[in-house]
């Protein structure tokens, strides 16, 4: 069990808690909190040397963030 894996699990846990039960329940807060578990997963993939998956994941995360932003900028309440 290497450092990346443990760190990844820890960050994944923190991020999931923050996303599932955010302090202030706004769309924006959830969207940003969603980045944290992404980094957790990122580290887990790193620990298993799954680099192509990791790269794709980061790219796709950026795109899915944009999809949410697209919805949110059309709403008045953020």
């Amino acid at each position: 069990m290497n450092a990346e894996f443990l760190l990844g699990l820890a960050i994944l846990a923190i991020g999931t808690a923050a996303t599932a039960f955010p302090g202030e329940k706004t769309y924006l807060a959830r969207l940003i909190n969603l980045e944290i578990p992404s980094f957790g997963l990122f580290l887990i993939m790193l620990a298993f040397d799954e680099m192509l998956a990791l790269l794709t994941f980061v790219g796709v995360t950026a795109i899915s963030t944009f999809i949410f932003v697209r919805i949110m900028e059309r709403r008045d309440d953020r």
């Binding site: 599932a20 959830r30 992404s38 790219g59 795109i63 949410f68 709403r75």
Partner: protein, 199 residues
């Protein structure tokens, strides 16, 4: 691995429970959509724990399924809430004048070098960033067509593998290139979908 796998599975299953518990309590539609993204991360985590090359190859389809469903559902959401018009006032940041072009160029170049699926995703992220600042809806149909052809080419490559395996070399080149094109174009279309449809 005999310890890593159960430990990882334990943590991820716990987090799955937490994420779904949040989903049980959530009533708002957009919040639900955000939580599905969290669930998608858990899914990938479960696959990643297998820790083989096969797992890595399986993460890519998993990612694609997640982003595809998100794209479709987000558009259903916009249609059902009637959020057709883009807001007139858009936040302006200075770096948006300069950064997108250069960053997108770097990412697209890297994506092309990488080729295949990952390359497509990276390049698409760059292109989305680029299109974000501009309205490029007029290219929509053209890009759609390009991606359709790329898909057909990829299917062709797949059948080369299955029927004429001796030509694997060409099949690999075609498949890698076609997937790159297909994924890049498809995903970057999201970037063009920001403005009004009939510009």
């Amino acid at each position: 691995m005999e310890l890593v796998y159960p430990a990882g599975a334990l943590v991820i299953l716990l987090l799955v429970s937490a994420a779904f518990f949040a989903l049980v309590r959530e009533r708002d539609d957009l919040h639900r959509l955000l939580l599905t993204e969290l669930v998608a991360i858990m899914t990938l985590g479960l696959i990643a724990l297998v820790a083989t090359d096969l797992a890595e190859a399986l993460i890519l389809p998993g990612l694609v399924v997640a982003i595809s469903e998100l794209v479709a559902l987000s558009q259903v959401y916009i249609a059902k809430e009637g959020l057709a018009a883009r807001p007139a006032k858009v936040r302006r940041i200075e770096v948006m004048d300069t950064a997108p072009a250069i960053v997108a160029a770097i990412l697209v170049a890297y994506g092309i070098v990488l080729s295949g699926f990952s390359g497509g995703a990276i390049a698409a992220a760059g292109l989305v960033f680029y299109f974000m600042g501009h309205g490029h809806a007029e290219r929509f149909a053209l890009l759609e067509a390009a991606s359709g052809y790329a898909w057909a080419i990829w299917i062709g490559a797949f059948f080369i593998f299955m029927i004429l395996p001796a030509y694997w070399f060409f099949a690999v080149l075609i498949a890698g290139g076609a997937i790159l094109l297909k994924v890049m174009v498809k995903l970057s279309l999201i970037g063009t979908m920001r403005g009004d449809p009939d510009v």
